[in-house]
Amino acid sequence: MSDVPCHKSLYLPSECEIIAVTDLTPGEKLFRVRRTDGAPLGHLPGQFVQVSLLGWGEAPISVASSPTRGGVFELGVRRVGSLTCAMHLLSAGDTLGIRGPFGRPFDLPRLHGQDLLLISGGCGLAPMRSLIQYCEDRPNEFGRISILYGAKSPAYTLFKDELAAWEASARFACTLTVDSSPGGECYGGSVGLITSLIPPLTFVPDNTVAVIVGPPAMYRAVIAELKRKGLPSDRIVVSLERQMRCGVGKCGHCTIEHLYCCQDGPVFRLDEIENLRGAL
């Protein structure tokens, strides 16, 4: 076989330095990271990276910050497996490996001029934050922006300070809810599923795009509410979670019928995937 033009080192991670680690919730931390070669990550909102710790392997993690915020980027990481447990033991000055950015980002040109409903649940707020920050930094490019966020409990609410700032900002309409508020927690906000936040909304379907990022159980219920409000499938955008082992469409773990979530997604328009078995 003659020459095939290959990117060299498809599976070789680039070294990155951790600048800061902050607790988001009892189970989630935010890692502020930069590449040690000084190059920007070069991502767009909605993309992910393969985070690598030698001896622990790799895991796909969404980028939680906007490229408009400079060369440093942030990763919100839930402690859930061996790699993320090891990651939670790291601190500023430690290093980790990164491959990427990978995947199809949010279609920003298509969102321009539209009113946006940014709906996230649980740690889905981390990738959504990348888009929210982008909208914050490019205020003239988008219409009215509504942020809807649902968390398991007040303690497991991510980015509390930023949510408070978005609530206070004239730029956003920001509404929060928690599934339950156990006694002993200081919380005076709404209690209920995120679907309860949608019926009171008023929006013009022809000029609105909804973006949904959250746990798998959330999608069908939220989509049903949005459709009840008249929003068609091509105006609903979802970012799907799958087990992406390679990030480059080779390992086969993230297929949705003929699509590879890591390459064709993770961001999809609903009409692209709603009829595919197992997508939602």
């Binding site: 076989m1 003659s2 020459d3 095939v4 033009p5 290959c6 990117h7 060299k8 080192s9 498809l10 599976y11 070789l12 991670p13 030698l54 001896g55 622990w56 392997g57 790799e58 895991a59 839930r78 859930v80 497996g81 993320t84 746990p215 798998p216 159980a217 979670e241 799958r242 087990q243 082992r245 390679c246 480059v248 469409g249 080779k250 390992c251 086969g252 773990h253 993230c254 297929t255 949705i256 019928e257 003929h258 699509l259 390459q263 078995r277 197992g278």
Partner: protein
Amino acid sequence: MRVLTSDRLDRFFATLAQTWELRLPILLPDGTRVIGSPDDGPIALLGIAILSKPTAAFFPQQETLFTASGGVLEEPLAPPRPLFVLGFTPRDLACLRFIDRFFADGWCDDIYFRLRQNSVVAGLSGYCGPGGTLLPPAGGDCDLELFWDGNSWLVIPYSEAGEAIVAELPDTAPPEAVELFRLAAMTPPDENEIVIKRASELLRGDRVPDSFWAEIGDRCIACTGCNLACPTCTCFGVQDWRTATQVERSRMWDSCQLDGFMREASGHNPLGSEALRTRRRIHHKLAADPERWGEISCFVCGRCDAVCPTGIGIFAVARELVARFG
């Protein structure tokens, strides 16, 4: 069309070994054949079907992605000499063509092409199928093809590399052998090929109910033999191996028939039942790949049916599916 007689095979391979790292059909002590190094056993171009996937020459069961030692990451080197791989049947060559395209598309997989690039692939056809059955000529998809007419090998080059390799062989193919080659090329599709195409149509037309996959799934014992034998199965997992001095990150074949194949960190599992996993195995080859790549990715080699202990290889499932739904 050149000719290679059996008594000249050893010399032919010895000459090739000066330039290439040879992978040839080898007879193992247990009577099976594999594509391996001549050091592994006697060369056996004729005999029973080779059940291990021939594409493993370029996509081995486990291979290193990189090693890390003292903060330095090193990728594996290309082999000192490129591979010469003989033993692909015409159907196997179609499989290789498919995975070449798969690994080159989008993000080009440098680890695969580390072995595949500059390699020479030689097909085997003619009366060298199991029990001396006829394998129709490939007519391409390889650098050269060896066609057994029952007495000697006709050697047909298809690439510059193939031309160079056969240049020293006598150009004395007897007319009756050439005619045999021509007739063999006109062999009509066999029954399995027709059934696979029909099953693909039914799947793509959404004519197969979930209850069918539940029945087939009940027969699966998750041995993963189908995936491990299939030349177009390319799924892999990635893992780190730690020793006292280094970390090795490698990839290893994985199987969509295992419960954890798609399970996500959240616990959500898009393939959480035997029914869904069995459907995925068949649907991927016969419906998803045609949608993505424009062709069915089962090339009717028969390996999964040969290795499946419970009789749910792709031919068996396709036959049942066609009998019941179309």
